[in-house]
């Protein structure tokens, strides 16, 4: 089977739209399946999509999305895994686009396309596609955004990194992306494949207050991985990305220092110095220091949402 579409839900009404957008994909039935993980702790409202032979419903017991997604991935039969939130949806040609991308890049661990951000009337509020391909380790570690809603992950890579880390809640998608980027390459298509809903009544179950600490923990776990540093340096092609990973290592050093883990702080500091010198003359250029200075990378949801907040929508 080509792909398993996994939709964890907390019982929101929008789950029908998400499931139907997957079922409507013009691919043979045996090419993909849909696994809905009901983590709401309540039975789902009966709906027509539950009768589809392509749909499997699993009921987990309010274990949060990482555990829910890992459970669905364990039962999935697809060679690739696609994780969709219950308030977002796929565009009609998405899986066909991914199938072609998979044929063109069979070795890639992570395939992804473009994202549209829309309101309840379908009005386009923004677009995102970072356009990165190949070894993107420095970029995803440095903060580039590869939305999970637009990504197809090769199943064997997902399991080789242990799936989602249940200790990281809120930024679990980026954490998975970083750990897979250490192991394998990315392939990108300029096609828009999915829609992210940011309309009236939009609610999130993400605990954003935890995000900064979880992000530091995630980056630190990646920095601990063998060969992570080599792969980071190999992918930092410009002074800007050298600057980004220099920033990551120095901020990790400070984080460990705050927690009185002096030896690890020293280790991260030495790596930051190594990055500075690896950049060669680039570390004396403005893009390097721009990378060090910036809180967020251009094209991320932070800037899109900031722009949305500045523009009256209704």
């Amino acid at each position: 089977m080509f792909c398993s579409v996994i939709i964890p839900t907390i019982g929101r009404d929008t789950v029908a739209r998400a499931v139907n957008s997957a079922l409507a994909q013009p691919l043979p039935c045996e090419a993909f399946e849909v696994i809905v993980v009901n983590d709401s702790g309540q039975p789902l409202q009966p709906a027509a999509w539950q009768q589809s032979p392509q749909v499997t419903v699993i009921t987990t017991n309010k274990r949060e999305r990482c555990v829910a997604r890992n459970t669905a991935a364990a039962v999935a039969k697809g060679d690739y895994l696609y994780f969709l939130d219950d308030d977002d949806w796929l565009l009609p040609h998405a899986l066909a686009t991914f199938q072609q991308l998979a044929l063109d890049h069979p070795q890639a661990a992570w395939l992804y396309g473009g994202l549209e951000i829309v309101d309840q009337a379908g009005k386009l509020l923004g677009e995102a596609n970072s356009g990165l391909s190949g070894n993107c380790c420095a970029q995803v570690m440095g903060g580039a955004w590869v939305p999970i809603q637009t990504s197809l992950i090769r199943s064997d890579f997902f399991f080789s990194v242990g799936g989602y880390n249940p200790h990281i809640i809120g930024t679990e998608d980026q954490d998975l992306c970083r750990r897979i980027a250490i192991q394998g390459d990315f392939a990108n298509t300029p096609e828009v494949v999915a829609c992210l809903f940011r309309g009236e009544g939009w609610q999130t179950s993400t605990i954003y207050a935890r995000a900064p600490e979880d992000t530091r923990l995630s980056r630190d776990l990646v920095a601990e991985e063998p060969h992570a540093f080599k792969r980071l340096i190999a992918s930092a092609a410009t002074p800007y990305w050298y600057g980004r990973i220099f920033r990551i290592y120095t901020s990790l050093a400070l984080w460990h220092l705050q927690h009185k883990r002096l030896f690890i702080a020293l280790s991260r500091t030495l790596y930051a110095i190594a990055i500075f010198f690896s950049a060669g003359g680039g570390s004396l250029t403005w893009p390097f220091w721009e990378g060090v200075r910036a809180h967020h990378v251009p094209g991320t949801l932070h800037f899109i949402e900031k722009k949305l907040q500045e523009t009256p929508r209704y």
């Binding site: 699993i58 009921t59 987990t60 017991n61 274990r63 555990v67 829910a68 890992n70 459970t71 364990a74 039962v75 999935a76 039969k77 399991f159 990194v161 242990g162 799936g163 880390n165 249940p166 200790h167 927690h259 883990r261 002096l262 030896f263 690890i264 020293l266 280790s267 030495l270």
Partner: protein, 311 residues
């Protein structure tokens, strides 16, 4: 619901014995359920227990036991989780004994004695671990409690993130260590599980076991409060020596892997362990413990009880 028993299976024909030992428990005080995780990649052959309303079957796609067990835990409703292998089985009064223990103890890890048997169900020895309360130091030193004879509080299981799916072989010891880092254990003094002994029968990969075991122990040594939790129960020269040895062997392990700063940090912890030992530093058991690997006497005691010597 009191308890969810989770049986991951690779489709062995001993599964029915394991399942029926759970479904035929002499226990009526509270509901319990059984979750069979079929990780064989093939459909299970039909058995009458499939119809039992207490049974849920999940089909995972050959992702090894940690993923299978975590999946079973995710759908479970019980206050406690019990992980049984598909070739082992429960004693008829096991859940009743666990229930009585759970009424008296708030420990996150409840366990009982286990009876080791041969592949033809002939009894070999009983394992009696004798661990109570904070036993983090014992588990880090190398002590082990079989999952089959244990009930784990569900909230404690999820707080530590469940089984580490990157660990295959010592995943049960790894879970035990991570839970005992913050939680206590309590023991019931009866046989609760029957476990088949022998590598030939096992699906465990024992080849990479030692290296994986070291690797997961390294991860736990790096967790906050590990040193303090061990110090809290080190009440004699022998156990102070064991703490010193844990950090000393970690120092060597990290040096061999060219991680000099982590090795230096372990060196500092070794020094701290010696300073905390105080007067015990001058007792021979401290240095004997520091010099030799841990040798659990659980098996020796079991063989001595039946008048045999370990083979």
């Amino acid at each position: 619901m009191f308890c969810s028993t989770i049986i991951p299976t690779v489709g062995r024909n001993t599964l029915t014995r394991s399942v029926e030992s759970v479904l035929k428990q002499e226990f009526t005080a509270a509901p319990h359920e059984l979750i069979v995780v079929n990780d064989s990649g093939q459909p299970l052959s039909w058995e009458s227990w499939h119809k039992d309303e207490r049974v849920t079957i999940i089909n995972t796609q050959r992702h090894e036991r940690s993923f299978a067990r975590n999946s079973g835990a995710a759908v479970a409703h019980g206050r406690y989780l019990h992980f049984l292998d598909d070739d082992d089985w429960l004693a008829p009064d096991a859940l009743q004994n666990f229930w009585e223990l759970a009424q008296q103890s708030s420990a996150a890890w409840l366990y009982g004695r286990s009876q080791l048997v041969t592949a033809t169900s002939e009894p070999i020895i009983q394992l009696h671990h004798g661990l109570q309360g904070n036993c983090f130091l014992n588990t880090m030193a190398g002590e082990w409690i079989p999952l089959q004879a244990s009930l784990i509080r569900t909230d404690a299981f999820f707080v530590v993130g469940g089984f580490n799916p990157l660990v295959a072989g010592p995943e049960d010891i790894d879970l035990l260590r991570r839970i005992t880092l913050t939680e206590d254990v309590a023991e019931v003094q009866t046989v609760v599980a029957y476990i088949i002994r022998g590598h030939a029968w096992s699906t465990t990969d024992y080849e990479g076991h030692a290296e994986q075991s070291r690797w997961v122990r390294e991860k736990i040594l790096a967790l906050p409060h590990a040193f303090e939790r061990m110090q809290a129960t080190a009440d004699n020269a022998y156990w102070h020596g064991r703490i010193g040895r844990l950090y000393l062997t970690s120092l060597v392990w990290n040096l061999r892997r060219r991680r000099p700063l982590t090795a230096a940090s372990r060196g500092w912890q070794t020094l701290r362990a010696c300073l905390h030992a105080g007067r015990y530093l001058f007792a021979p058991p401290f240095w004997q413990s520091l010099a030799h690997a841990y040798d659990s006497d659980t098996f020796q005691r079991g063989f001595a009880a039946v008048g045999q010597t370990p083979s």
